[in-house]
């Protein structure tokens, strides 16, 4: 319980403070840098606790574990996600280099619009932290 409550508390505090900051200010840089530092620290802790990286070896006798049976087969569907992400990134880059910027909005346009209020900025900050927590906890 303590393991969960401390990171959650830090995350909520950062999201609240991050919601009150404005982009391109020292405050926003400090809060974002603190979140990134917390992410790096948590990643290091998790990596040290789980020294075995990568996929578990096949057990003797050739029987697959229950987890391995339930997990998606390597590459099944992943390629489609990679292609979809590639298309999105290519579209983002093409919009980034086209002008005028208003005629070709990038993802930043939507995110900046969405983060235009303190409450929505705080929610976006919390979502970003949650994604980071997911990446650390994998």
């Amino acid at each position: 319980m303590r393991r969960l409550s401390l990171p959650a508390g830090i995350g909520i505090a950062l999201a609240v403070v991050g919601g009150f900051t404005t982009a391109f200010t020292t405050g926003s840089e400090v809060v974002t840098a603190m979140a990134i530092a917390a992410f790096v620290a948590a990643s290091l802790v998790v990596t040290r606790r789980r020294p075995i990286a990568g996929r578990a070896p096949e057990p003797a006798g050739g029987e697959r574990t229950e987890l391995a049976k339930r997990a998606p087969s390597p590459g099944r569907g992943v390629l489609i996600w990679v292609v979809a992400a590639g298309v999105a990134i290519a579209f983002e880059l093409s919009n980034y280099f086209l002008s005028p910027r208003y005629a070709h909005p990038t993802v930043s346009y939507f995110l900046s619009t969405a983060a235009g209020h303190q409450w929505s900025r705080g929610i976006l900050f919390a979502a970003w932290l949650t994604l980071g927590g997911y990446l650390v906890g994998r």
Partner: protein, 66 residues
């Protein structure tokens, strides 16, 4: 239709594709990888984990700081 509107429609189409792929994954009962499965697969290797971590950091810095 203006370029602005056309680009937004294209973004909505891309988002719809992502949502459709995730719904397909959920309805296929894990036979097809969802976004979580794809991230797990990419993060299965140290280089993939590094890429995901850097992408997360860049996203946060880009949206909230700069």
């Amino acid at each position: 239709m203006t370029d602005h509107a056309l680009t937004i429609v294209a973004w909505i189409a891309i988002a719809a594709v992502f949502a459709g792929l995730e719904i397909l994954a959920l309805s296929s009962r894990r036979r097809f990888a969802g976004i979580g499965g794809a991230l797990r697969w990419i993060g299965g290797a140290p280089a993939g984990r590094l890429v995901l971590a850097l992408a997360w950091m860049w996203l946060g810095w880009h949206v909230f700081a700069r």
